[in-house]
Symmetry: C2
Subunit: 775 residues, 2 copies
């Protein structure tokens, strides 16, 4: 790509034609730049993503979920035999099976690794504490944490910056049609898996749930790309999956499998994919997703059975999080409902406040992360040290509590997990704050949600824990490690809920463990803003259906309250990263505008039979991904819109060099020489680049027939169509390009092309600053 | 409507302009005719629904989910104040609350009534049996059943024929955009509620679940119509809900509330609405639906608490079905999995066979029902008698079994419900077949799913019960009573499952109660073909999450197996009723055709300023609901498509009589005199009719300006657009009319209008018989 391109203000987004060395640059600064992108965008006056590629920001590419119905496709469609359709269906289900299998296995690996690493760390620390070697214990504890954290940070900073963070916003954006660079690459998968294990083991207040979703999506994407063309491992059957539509379906299954593996919640996984992740949905996909999560559930169950015999090291019963509160009898009266209402309202406020702070912290961190890999790792280490100090230091403020006489578990407990940690206390006593801090996050949640132990944690303990975890959670997200948001939010919410439970003890009959669960629900509702999926996930986690009405109530209230303040945390992060996410509804102000109003930039069109030089020039000097093709006399009576041709298809066609000296139709030959598969979409960054073409001087003046690769059924809107309706059309059908055609006759057959970017509020309101956004 | 209309072969569907006396005709023959409709359609060469209106078949109307963006709408939109938007949002939630509340109350009423009526009936019968007055017992039992059945049948036949059957297919069709006549009318609601109570109490093998879904939808529709214009009870705020879009959302909530009330499964209700009922979905609606079902859950819980003190008569613990199998420990090995696989495969085969037989029986019944109300009632009474004979007669074939020594419940049991029915047996013995037959359906299911009682039912008993219930279920659906399909299928499936459990007893460790549950799942999967929603409903019913993997497996297998044979039962019924249901995907053969290929019938267009006579003539002689408006010189340079105007809007405008002598623009005056609300869609059958207009002779030659009511943003496709893509556009955006515009210039600006009917396979394949449907 030459320098001309960096000042290209076209509305289309593109990243295909970026050279490899620039991509390397991107890779290193991705996390940093991505956060600053919107700021940059504003600087260049909200023109376009492509405008900032020159500024060394990684490209965001649109995905194309429309079926390109060109001659080649139709030829392929006609020749498709029944056996091939059968193969396709079998493959789809085989993919679903594999995605479930691999995601389940990764989930198992993740859990076993985390339980063993952090279990070992905690065992050594506890042993040293028992011997009263307090400083040595801290040194070992903090040393382990910092070491693990540094390793996770290094993986992230040097190998795959895209693996940092939750990954859910990226997957959500992908399923909406926005492909961020290298977000589903093999390197990202690798770092996501190992970085997550190291990060969680390092004692950070982070979860492995978001990363599991991202992992599932990566696995699905890699399976779909199937083998490698480089090593001649491509499988002929897989050609049907080499398009954005089928990849999208696979990744939806992957995201669902991720949640299912993280929470052991197969139904919750399906609902998560449906409610939060996916932008398009159909009944057939629901079913396939359900199958994937069922496979995950079976894999997990099989391994749990295998591990129950003790063959997985320190991974035992408590391995996969599962907070069984079904022991508690659920009875509640109207006063309990009032307490729960209050819990929901305050939880909603806290949740939205959490989002607000996360947003602010992310902006600060992006400035630090921008400076390079070393700074990233430094930040990770700093936070690791801070977390270690909190976890080890704060329990000293708690008093030793005598063990309850009727406890069914050993007290004080010297095992890895357990309710009653001895810490510095003498025999027969336990430190309640240490029982929360010096545990894995999963065990801390389990302790908070444990039922029939209402007096176990002091009110002051719960307050200290809640405050610390709330703050740690906020400052941890955004550092260069894979970090999920579910666990920090559940942890803080459970602490808050149990605290409220203690405060309402006198007037409420509900168990404090149930209060902790409801508190977690209120925080989740306040930050994530999901409803049905969270509800089902919580039910599957806690194995108690009788709680359903209460959990629903809390989620509804906290979401309603929080929605008044800001958007959900994933939406916020997407916005911060500059993803042009299309909402399902049209904005109110769009009804005041028509499609023509937002068409911008010079329109570049091709003739049905076009000169090679013209095409090459257009490809080199613009970032457009779709070009309208217009049939002119003598091929038609008057100029008429033939369709849209894609950049990637043009590149393949040009490489084939079926040029002719004269301006004649040469489609037949092209149809014979090419198959639809030759134009299949390659994995990201793998397609032909403009500079791969080797066109000689005399070929420049020759002609090529574009008809065989022209999508003759592009979706069109009339220029006077209301922008709101055009946006709905664009979004519902998952388009990448939409042609705007003139209303009156006697004008050129196309007046512009609309892309995702043209519907973004920043773009529209930038063009029409006098419009009130909410009217 | 004059007689000309009955031979109208227009592609549009309409029923608006039918006169009242004709509607009365319709009302009486609705059920009968509706089944014969497809046969008739074929006879008239697959032209159109309207073609058979003359043949006394009830009309099916399309719904219009598109926002009509005309001048009036824009004026209203601009003037809409913040407070009004706020009112709208508040109202939406208030509606959701009310729908949940009322549906919950109806659910409670339904359960209490059924439990009391059939409880009383069974008590009397049992008492007579104890006194050995066997013939008198049968007379009372059969007499009660026949009486109740006749009452239900009479309600259905005379008051609201539309209330017969499940109602789920109708709701599903409505949410897809097909409005069957009087399907959501107050009379239908009334009959649905009371007919269902009577029918279930009469001992039929029918459920109250489908009717509950329909009831929920009716409640939602009536609330949305809000009051009555006739009695001046309309509430100004409600005007925002007088359109198909908002009604659709309300009815989606209603359908979910119905399932939630029927099964006490709030999450299952949401998923049912999402997976089976609704054709369009968005995240915001998910949330509102969730709220509705949460309200239902809370109402049910409150009443259960109230009734637990015994204040609801015979309605006790067993009132709302809830088969608690959580007592059984769920452990299974690989041999169990094999048994479950087999169960799923055979269940799938049985399920599809069930669908096949239901279809055949419905066709036979439609011929009987067609003959009039008396025949309908006669059929109902016959089936009631047959059911009574089976229930009372078959237990005589069973042997008396000694009561188990360790039973925790009394045996033999003389209560209303209970596991061990004495029937003719001496003290200390029980009749196992009577325990299944002489019970309510809910109790029979509970007995079949009871755990730790593996020897309770003989293998022969289970075989007889399964066979009888399978056959009774098939011959019962289709008679003129509200009849759900869930319970018959669950009943047969549980019997089958328990039978399999007994057969595999020696090699399987799974409890026979769990086998019954899995059998029910396999039958449900085989007939209904839902997955996630059924899974969640079953889990919520049985309160055991540990069964999840097995239930998922069975559902997946049985659905996969059954899908090879035929379609789901609701799809089948919809097809039989002749609803033009649009599938979410395009059929393969549609890729070989373009939009122009299916355009049929003469196109009637209006000028922007049109003569009154022309409009009136078009309204009188066609059944079209949408007319393209074309601007001609002098209002534009060349003829151009201005938009589409709706029949209902034209009628309102004509009634206003803003005519002018000359062909001039008079839109300003119309905009001042009319508000958007005046054009709001009335409840079905309530709008202005053509014959309500009182146009005088001199007014016929005057002109009217159509611009203010013309939707200037209709969705258009170019004539060469592939039919598959046009169908996707039509379906995804919920359109009623789609304009087909010419590709080349110099031709009239519109070549045709496509409606739902034009995409139906019968229509397309009728036009192109040489096309292979699956290619």
């Amino acid at each position: 790509m030459d320098t001309e391109n960096s000042v290209n203000h076209e509305p289309d987004m593109d990243g295909r034609d970026i050279e490899n060395d620039q991509l390397m640059d991107c890779k290193e600064t991705w996390t940093a730049e991505s956060y600053t992108q919107p700021l940059l965008s504003k600087r260049v006056n909200t023109t376009s993503q492509i405008a900032i590629v020159g500024a060394n920001v990684c490209p965001i590419e649109s995905l194309d979920y429309e079926i390109v119905e060109n001659e080649l496709f139709k030829q392929d469609w006609r020749s498709r035999k029944k056996v091939q359709i059968f193969q396709y269906v079998i493959l789809k289900w085989a993919f679903a099976l594999c995605i479930g299998l691999f995601t389940g296995l990764v989930g198992i690996f993740n859990n076993i690794a985390v339980e063993n690493i952090s279990g070992f760390k905690l065992l050594v620390t506890t042993d040293l504490m028992t011997d009263k070697k307090y400083f040595k214990a801290f040194a070992v504890y903090a040393g382990c944490n910092v070491g693990l954290a540094a390793a996770a940070g290094a993986l992230c900073a040097y190998i795959a910056p895209a693996a940092a963070g939750s990954g859910i916003p990226e997957v959500k954006a992908y399923l909406n049609g926005v492909d961020a660079y290298s977000i589903l690459a093999p390197g990202t998968l690798f770092v996501k898996i190992f970085g997550s294990v190291l990060g969680v083991s390092a004692g950070f207040v982070v979860g492995k749930e978001g990363p599991m979703v991202h992992t599932g999506a990566c696995i699905a994407s890699l399976l779909g790309q199937g083998g490698s063309r480089k090593y001649h491992l491509t499988w002929r059957w897989l050609r049907y999956f080499k398009n954005d539509r089928d990849r999208r379906d696979l990744i939806t299954c992957g995201a669902a499998a991720g949640v299912a593996a993280a929470f052991r919640a197969p139904v919750g996984g399906v609902l998560f994919a449906l409610e939060e992740a996916a932008s398009w949905w159909r009944s057939a996909l629901l079913w396939r997703t359900f199958f994937t999560t069922a496979v995950v559930a079976i894999v997990l169950r099989a391994f749990m059975q295998l591990c129950s015999s003790g063959s997985c090291g320190l991974f035992g019963e408590g391995g996969l999080i599962m907070y069984d509160v079904s022991a508690a009898t659920v009875t509640y009266s109207s006063s309990d409902i009032l307490a729960v209402l209050l819990l929901g309202i305050i939880g909603g406020i806290f949740g939205s406040f959490y989002n607000y702070l996360v947003d602010k912290v992310l902006r600060v961190y992006s400035i630090i992360n921008e400076r390079g890999a070393a700074f990233k790792i430094l930040l990770v280490v700093t936070i690791a040290l801070l977390t270690s100090c909190c976890s080890y230091g704060l329990p000293w403020f708690a008093q030793c509590i005598p063990c309850p006489a009727d406890s069914s578990v050993s007290c004080p407990n010297t095992d890895v997990s357990g309710n009653y940690k001895s810490f510095q206390c003498p025999s027969g006593y336990y430190n309640d704050l240490a029982s929360l801090f010096l545990n894995t996050n999963d065990d801390a949640i389990r302790n908070l949600m444990s039922t029939s132990t209402s007096k176990e944690f002091h009110i002051s303990t719960l307050f200290i824990f809640f405050t610390a975890v709330f703050c740690l959670g906020i400052i941890t997200y955004g550092i260069a490690i894979p970090s999920g948001l579910f666990i920090p939010v559940i942890l803080a919410g459970a602490g808050y809920g149990r605290l409220v439970g203690r405060l309402f003890e006198s007037i409420s009959k509900l168990d404090t463990g149930l209060f902790a669960l409801l508190g977690a629900a209120s925080f989740l509702g306040g930050t994530m803003r999901m409803t049905v999926s969270l509800c089902v996930i919580l039910l599957e986690l806690t194995n108690d259906l009788l709680l359903l009405p209460l959990v629903m109530l809390v989620l509804l209230i906290s979401k309603s309250v929080a929605d008044n303040f800001n958007k959900g945390v994933y939406d916020q992060i997407m916005k911060l990263k500059g993803f042009p996410y299309m909402e399902a509804h049209a904005e109110p102000y769009m009804r005041q505008l028509v499609a023509l109003d937002v068409v911008s930039g010079p329109l570049i069109t091709f003739s049905g039979v076009e000169k090679v030089e013209t095409i090459l020039h257009a490809l080199r000097t613009t970032g457009h991904n779709g070009f309208p093709v217009i049939d002119n006399p003598p091929f038609s009576d008057a100029p008429e819109l033939c369709g849209v041709v894609l950049r990637s298809h043009l590149l393949v066609l040009l490489k084939g060099k079926f040029f002719s000296k004269d301006k004649i139709l040469g489609g037949e030959e092209i149809l014979q020489r090419f198959a639809a598969f030759d134009f299949a979409k390659a994995g990201s960054g793998k397609g032909i680049k403009v500079d791969d073409l080797d066109i000689e001087e005399e070929e420049m003046d020759m002609y090529i027939d574009l008809h065989p690769i022209t999508n003759t059924s592009p979706y069109t809107v009339v220029e006077t169509m209301s922008l709101a309706k055009a946006a709905i059309l664009f979004r519902q059908l998952g388009l990448r390009h939409m042609c705007v055609v003139p209303k009156s006759q006697g004008r050129p057959p196309i007046v512009g092309i609309l892309t995702r970017h043209d519907f973004m509020p920043e773009h529209v309101l930038g063009l029409y600053p006098h419009i009130k956004p909410h009217k």
